[in-house]
């Protein structure tokens, strides 16, 4: 790898941090707006559910997301503040469906210390001002003027330093905030301040309440007419207003989120740590509050945000599990729950660990993540490409073609599956027991290979064989009419749609037939210069039954030609170049754009834009999908048409944002495919593989596929063992015993196919699993799982004891072979030169695997290295050890075999608080740190002075905006040897927000080229809210902010492909590169993930 890195997101953030509901896109429309840390999504509420309207990146981590309506405006505006002290006010532009920036600014201050408890942003309900609590002891006010414009901000000193929450009260003459804070004796209080805008100061407000519940954490302001505020604690809920004070005890729980149900503020939904949803009701007589009531509703994901939409439908945004759309029922179900989950939205966050495996052994990596927390913990299998879930299969050799047929035109389901072989045609049909059995269609010729068959109009079927075209009634199944090939000629290739047949015989004869009621009519016949290799008349125009164009691929001159129908006049001819003949052509329309797809015998696919009226071909693009000839076939899934390209690397071609995308299918070689939608196998595909015919359903057509294995407990570390075909995880389960909540920690073994627990090793009380690897030792052929643990005693600040456990998998069970006590937490384990390298608190320790006299094995300390604060993350390569320290960045150690010692070679002297490290190559190391930055350092082994050699030079810096927990070498995509992307080494990372990203090391010339492209794109693509890309990507920590270098923002670069044609042209011309080449180079990059 290299120092020139390209960072791109494969899986966007999924952790929902904020949500709000309002009339954003129009005064009549109700919208749900969701923030996923660095993205916002705007949804429209429709009777059928949520309809996505916009999903855009924000150049910042969103700290505040609020909807508000300035006076005189018919609809809401969106206020966003980012963690790096930028804010913007956005408005919806209905014409272009884009966001317009109404206002933006910077609210950073020289003085003040950033708050520990998180930034708070809030808007006065009467829209008089925006309040921000960003620094301890300061409250920033951005006032609105009468016209709803923002005026200059100012600070007010806030006495309370440990602020937990701030809200505006409703119905106050002057804007009034209520502050929940903790004093220096750890007692919690709430008080109110009126904001005197003229004096720019606080005035003591109407309410104050001291010595609240110790766990009081959330304030809920109550709208008028009731007014006042609810304070949610861990054991009590308190309502207080000027005139009333009510409190009720609750079952101890930590409330994480609330959502208001009614506009009058009498009912609230509360979501707690355990995912339980409660309804809090303020009982009142007119405007007099009489009490509080709380009612248990049921269980959801652990909510981070709750938005009540409408009609008892609620959106639950989650950071630890899947987000949900739920309905609150009036009556409980059998389990006593009032909650019905309508929809689930996948959330991978927090990804605390993951491993890259190739379970199907196809050369394509899959990522298995430890996702979620608490009860929502799960494993997620993330795979690029589309999965076929096999439902049934039969052994059948030598399949030459596959077609499905319905028994009548109106039948919703397919009845027959026609399978063609070299000298015969067999018909399979579904029987009463939903089994496929051999059947017969009397009118078909069973003794010849079928070249094509098709349902036709008037309840007819068409079969094309080498000698004839047969028209058969689908009801009586008798032959109605037959067209015979001229004697001496046989049909080589044929195609048909419901009303037309086009076939080619030897000698370049092209024959066009039309299907009538019980009759086939030869309409036109032409002879072409060369032999015909492939044909298509798939209707892509307005009439779904009739095509006005025919596509023909030719031998000899290697061309594809477009003919008009029925006249068979040549409209266009495109020479393909090269010597590889076209093997399949297809006319198709995606999202209203017509294409001609053409595949070559060597696995390449060409696509052209097709002009339906003139037949002209333009915008040629070429991609490589495999190495073998490709057969194209359309199918539809969820009412959208896709193309299946059957070959040695089967691929699904689909369109998104009017852009063709290619997704791998998780199958090995596929020779033929046809859609087969039967009652027993709805929406399925029939697939001919080598020696096998199988029927399976297909995943949703999208790029990344995520399979969820719910665990019900929090998995923290994972690794895979090839030899035993198992995964091992360290996990913890929260248990509620009487009053106390305890944690139980396990090492669990899972089957790598079924993902079932097959063995469990419980750890001791207070013992936590910290690290796990699969390794083998020198002089020992077994593969072992090594687990590092820590005893976390309540009275100890830092663990002083831990263990290393060595397991072997025998008969599907974890067998403890050896254990070794350590003097601290084993933060990391690595296989190292046939030994085991452990990071134990401050120390790096190497263990040998020794054979004792009695034949048993033990770990024996060999040598160590200290000098770290906490050695949290360790990676090794050869004899080199790279350590990521708690707060002292990266250091490089070397193991010296002769001396049996570990020595420090070099170190980065910056004070980076690490969160992950990885070795890119011999000299360059990648680190992720506490302030969401990535950086690379380089070893300077050739430097002149000791001082320089001892220093790791920082060569790259970049603000990712994501907290990276783990790097792993590997790739999510199949590496094709002939594509350029195949040679680019990549590292995958996983983050708290559920992002899976890729860091790719580019060759220098490519880096330079893309850097130029990025610079051009920054000028054209403006950040939402006017936020600056350059500032967003600049490396930023407590000490410094410097421009990003030696890292490229792949997300920005790949958004080039979403630009309009004119803007693409603009960029291509300023780059002085042909547009086609530019597109090709960017498309290459998109295939890295």
């Amino acid at each position: 790898m290299s120092v020139w890195n390209y960072v791109v997101t494969a899986q966007k953030p999924t952790n929902v941090t904020h949500s709000c509901v309002g009339n954003f896109t129009s005064p009549q429309e109700l919208n749900l707006i969701i923030a996923k840390c660095t993205r916002i999504e705007i949804h429209l509420l429709t009777p059928h559910g949520l309809q996505p309207m916009l999903d855009v990146p924000i150049y910042g981590r969103i700290a505040t997301l609020e909807l508000f309506r300035p006076h005189g405006e018919p609809q809401d505006f969106l206020f966003i503040a980012t963690e790096r002290y930028k804010f913007c006010v956005l408005q919806w532009d209905a014409e272009t469906s884009e966001l317009i920036t109404r206002a933006m600014g910077d609210v950073s201050d020289r003085i003040g210390r950033p708050t520990d408890n998180g930034q708070i942003g809030l808007i006065d309900p009467d829209c008089r001002l925006i309040g921000l609590h960003l620094y301890d002891g300061l409250f920033k006010v951005i006032p609105f003027d009468n016209k709803g414009q923002l005026k200059e901000a100012f600070n007010i000193r806030l006495e309370e330093l440990q602020v937990l929450d701030i809200k505006f009260l409703y119905g106050c003459l002057k804007p009034t905030i209520v502050v929940l804070y903790q004093d220096n004796k750890d007692a919690r209080h709430a008080k109110t301040y009126e904001i005197a805008l003229k004096d720019k100061d606080f005035v003591e407000g109407p309410l104050s309440h001291t010595n609240l519940d110790n766990g009081a954490g959330i304030l809920i302001p109550v709208p008028m007419p009731l007014g006042g505020v609810i304070i949610i604690g861990e054991e009590t809920i308190v309502y207080c207003s000027v005139s009333a004070f009510k409190a009720i005890p609750i079952r101890p729980s930590i409330t994480r989120a609330y959502g208001r149900v009614d506009a009058d503020g009498s009912r609230y939904l509360l979501g707690d740590n355990a995912g339980l949803l409660h309804l809090l009701v303020i009982t009142h007589e007119r405007e007099r509050v009489t009490g509080l009531k709380i009612e248990h509703l049921g269980e959801t994901s652990v909510a981070s945000t709750i938005s009540y939409l409408d009609n008892a439908v609620v959106y639950i945004g989650s950071s630890y599990g899947d987000s949900q759309l739920i309905k609150l029922n009036l009556q409980p179900d059998a389990k006593g729950s009032y909650i019905e989950v309508l929809e689930k939205y996948v959330n991978l966050g927090p990804i605390v660990d993951f491993c890259v495996v190739d379970l199907e052994r196809q050369g394509q990596g899959q990522v298995v993540t430890c996702s979620g927390a608490y009860k929502d913990g799960s494993l997620r299998i993330v795979r690029n490409g589309i999965g076929i879930n096999e439902q049934a299969s039969v052994e059948l050799q030598g399949i030459k073609g596959l077609w499905s047929l319905r028994s009548s035109t109106n039948d919703p389901y397919d009845t027959f599956l026609v399978v063609s072989f070299i000298n015969e045609t067999r018909v399979l049909a579904m029987n009463m027991d939903d089994e496929l059995e051999e059947s017969e269609i009397e009118g078909f010729c069973a003794e010849a290979q079928t070249l094509f068959c098709q349902n036709a109009i008037h309840d007819q079927l068409v079969q094309v064989t080498a000698n004839s075209v047969r028209l058969v009634s689908s009801t009586t199944r008798e032959l109605l009419h037959e067209w015979n090939a001229p004697s001496g000629y046989s049909v080589n290739v044929a195609t048909a749609n419901v009303s037309q047949v086009l076939l080619a015989t030897g000698g370049g004869h092209l024959v066009y037939l039309e299907i009538g009621n019980g009759k086939l009519a030869e309409v036109k016949h032409v002879q072409l210069d060369y032999e015909i290799s492939c044909l298509d008349i798939n209707p892509s125009g307005e009439n779904p039954n009739y095509s006005t164009l025919a596509a023909v691929g030719m031998w000899t001159d290697i061309s594809v030609r477009i003919f008009s129908l029925p006249s068979l006049e040549l409209l266009a001819k495109e020479n393909l170049g090269g010597e590889i003949i076209p093997r399949s052509v297809l006319l198709c329309t995606f999202e209203g754009v017509s294409y001609l797809l053409c595949t070559l015998g060597d696995g390449h696919l060409l696509n052209f834009l097709l002009n339906l009226s003139t037949g002209e071909l333009s915008n040629r693009k070429k991609v490589s999908l495999g190495t073998q000839p490709i057969m194209l076939r359309t199918f539809s899934s969820k009412d959208t048409t896709h193309v299946f390209a059957a070959s040695d690397r089967p691929t699904v071609i689909y369109s998104s944002n009017k852009k063709l995308l290619y997704s791998n299918v998780n199958l090995k070689e596929v020779s033929h495919m046809c859609p087969f939608n039967s009652a027993a196998f709805p929406d399925s595909l029939a697939i001919a593989k080598e020696g096998e015919l199988s029927i399976g359903t297909i995943d949703d057509i999208q790029k990344l596929h995520i399979r969820t294995i719910p665990l019900g407990e929090h998995a923290r570390r994972i690794c895979h063992q090839e030899q035993s075909r198992t995964f091992a995880i360290c996990s913890l389960k929260n248990c509620q015993t009487s009053n106390e909540e305890t944690e139980m920690h396990f090492v669990r073994l899972l089957d790598d196919q079924t993902f079932e627990f097959i063995s469990t090793y419980p750890l001791d009380t207070y013992e936590y699993g910290c690290s796990i690897i699969s390794c083998s030792f020198s002089d020992d052929n077994n593969a072992y799982y090594c687990v590092g643990t820590a005893y976390v005693l309540p009275e100890e600040n830092e663990p002083s004891k831990g263990r290393i456990l060595v397991f072997v998998v025998e008969d599907g069970k974890l067998q403890l072979i050896a254990e070794k006590e350590t003097k601290g937490a084993v933060y990391s384990l690595n296989a190292f030169n046939g030994k085991l390298l452990a990071a134990i608190n401050q120390k790096i320790q190497l263990y040998k695997w020794m054979l004792r006299e009695d034949g048993s094995r033990e770990l024996q300390a060999e040598c160590g290295h200290h000098g770290h604060i906490l050695a949290l993350y360790v990676q090794t390569r050869g004899d080199f050890i790279v350590v990521g320290d708690l707060m002292k960045s990266i250091s490089l150690l070397l193991y010296k075999h002769e001396e049996g010692a570990i020595e420090e070679l070099a170190r980065d002297y910056n004070a980076n608080w690490m969160s992950a490290v990885e070795i890119l190559d011999d000299d360059v190391f990648l680190g992720a740190e506490n302030n969401y930055n990535l950086f690379t350092v380089r070893k300077n082994s050739d430097a002149a002075t000791d001082e320089e050699r001892g220093r790791l030079e920082v060569v790259g810096e970049y603000h990712l905006g994501e907290f990276v927990n783990r790097f792993r070498h590997g790739s999510l995509v199949m590496r094709l040897p002939d594509s350029e992307a195949g040679h680019i080494p990549t590292v995958i990372f996983g983050t708290i927000n559920g992002v899976i990203g890729v860091v790719a090391s580019l060759p220098h010339d490519q880096y330079v080229f893309l850097e130029k492209l990025q610079a051009n794109l920054v000028k054209v693509i403006k950040g939402v809210g006017g936020l600056s890309h350059e500032q967003w990507r600049s490396f930023n920590n407590e000490k410094k902010t410097v421009d990003a270098r030696n890292f490229l923002d792949g997300d920005l670069i790949e958004s080039f492909l979403d630009l309009s044609r004119s803007r693409m042209d603009e960029i291509a011309s300023s780059m002085a590169v042909p547009l086609e080449e530019l597109c090709k180079r960017v498309e290459e990059l998109t295939r890295l993930h």
Binding site: R110, S208, G349
Partner: protein, 456 residues
């Protein structure tokens, strides 16, 4: 720590909170370092210590024998018994040096922008600017008296000024760019012991003199714009509300009927400090005074009575501004520590436990970055006090003679102290591994002792 690491990776603990928890946890465990030593080359009292601001790697010390030295505190020169890291000086400049100071060095600071330059001030009346790489003097400024203190602004973008205080009443600003004095700031009535630039504005300088005054200067304007007055105090952390507003509250309280809540809020103004008596006296006073300093910013017409205000009885010996730019701590020869609100200039009346401070020399205070702890050299010890409650949380005993200076290295959470006993001590969170090894050694020793007994 493991729990924090775990909560951080699951997103339950925001990274910034994680860092501050780890830091405060480490700070609370500070003790005489069991794994790190600085080998002092000085033959006189160590008067000044500072770690460079850019890399956090090089410690600069200045001593009474006229010598200054630089140490690499990240990379040890050698290890004692293979374990205790010893940091020897990278170089020393002393009286033998061609341009060395002739008398005691009272102050030594790094050029804030990089480690290429450092500045020393001495009783020989000179402020000298050194090139670190060649250890040559590149510039010197002759002051009118013994130099007590120097300061450079860490946030300055528009100037490269060394503020220098000496036995003379005038503060001088020495410009590295031109090699000349650009300003003389007159106002103090006696020598200037200690200087501190504002951490929020590059133009604001704060100076403390032997006349007991702390003066604020805006170097773009003539004269000083504020003199801190120990009698102008603030109860709690922010200025009290205007008189009329507190009346309002009372009025509303009586209206509301349920008086308990609101009443409390008035009297419950945060008062961790001071006794009841003082409080009630002071309650009215500051309300009148609140706006006055603002009006008087206009200077030079500062009323003469105000101009004579003092921050301490006796000399001001030390100043330290908090990192967030909101507070200033001062120490005086009256053995008092005072906490000031920089914006309002009010004495916050934090009541620090009684301590005795050196009176004759300027002392260097240190604050930890979240402004929760102040490290004060108290005779032969260093005390760590809670900034707000004034409680002494820890006393560091290790020096044999008076401690002159301390420096808190926030990057590594280590404290360095320099004393008249010529030593520089390192106070750090303990390293567990050393303890382990010691334990092992002890066991071994015991074992061998047993053996000896047995053989006898």
């Amino acid at each position: 720590m493991w729990k924090e690491v775990r909560d951080r990776e699951a997103g339950k603990l925001p990274p910034i909170t994680f860092a501050s928890r780890v830091r405060s946890c480490r700070v609370s465990a500070l003790g005489l370092s069991n794994h790190k030593e600085i080998v002092s080359p000085h033959h006189g009292a160590v008067n000044a210590l500072q770690v460079d601001l850019t890399e956090g790697r090089y410690l600069l010390s200045g001593a009474s024998d006229g010598s200054a030295a630089v140490y690499d505190i990240q990379r040890a020169t050698d290890y004692e018994e293979g374990l205790i890291a010893r940091h020897r000086s990278l170089f020393v400049v002393d009286k033998q040096h061609e341009y060395g100071h002739k008398f005691a060095i009272s102050t030594a600071i790094w050029y804030p922008v990089d480690t290429g330059l450092f500045v020393t001030g001495s009783f020989d009346h000179f402020v000298k600017v050194w090139d670190t790489n060649t250890t040559q003097v590149v510039m010197d400024f002759k002051m009118p008296g013994k130099v007590y203190g120097t300061a450079m602004s860490s946030i300055a973008k528009a100037h490269m000024l060394i503020a220098a205080g000496s036995a003379d009443v005038q503060v001088r600003l020495c410009d590295i760019a031109s090699g000349a004095f650009t300003h003389t700031l007159s106002g103090h009535r006696d020598g200037v012991m200690t200087l501190e630039w504002s951490t929020s504005s590059e133009w604001i300088l704060m100076t403390g003199g032997r006349d007991g005054a702390i003066r604020f200067w805006d170097i773009r304007r003539a004269g000083c714009f504020r003199v801190l007055d120990q009698s102008q105090c603030q109860l709690g952390r922010r200025p009290p509300f205007l008189e009329n507003t507190s009346k309002k509250i009372v009025a509303r309280t009586s209206l509301a009927g349920s008086s308990s809540l609101a009443n409390k809020s008035v009297s419950r103004k945060k008062s961790p400090l001071g006794n009841g008596m003082k409080q009630s006296q002071a309650l009215h006073k500051p309300q009148n005074l609140l706006r006055t300093p603002v009006r008087q910013r206009s200077h030079p017409g500062m009323s003469s009575s105000h101009d004579r205000a003092t921050a301490h009885y006796g000399a001001v010996t030390g100043l330290k501004a908090s990192v967030d730019g909101m507070y200033l701590l001062s120490s005086g020869s009256d053995s008092q520590l005072r906490l000031w609100d920089i914006e309002s200039g009010l004495n916050i009346l934090a009541k620090y436990e009684e301590m005795s401070l050196q009176t004759s020399k300027s002392i260097h205070l240190a604050l930890n970055p979240d402004s929760s702890l102040v490290f004060v050299p108290c005779m032969a010890t260093v005390k760590a006090c809670d900034v707000w409650s004034g409680l002494t949380l820890q006393t560091f005993r290790g020096h044999y003679e008076l401690v002159n200076c301390c420096y808190f290295n926030l990057q590594d959470q280590e404290l360095y102290t320099g004393s008249n006993d010529r030593q520089i001590l390192v106070w750090s969170p303990p390293s567990a591994i050393i303890n382990d090894l010691e334990e092992d050694n002890r066991k071994e020793q015991k074992f061998s002792a047993d053996k000896d007994n047995w053989s006898d």
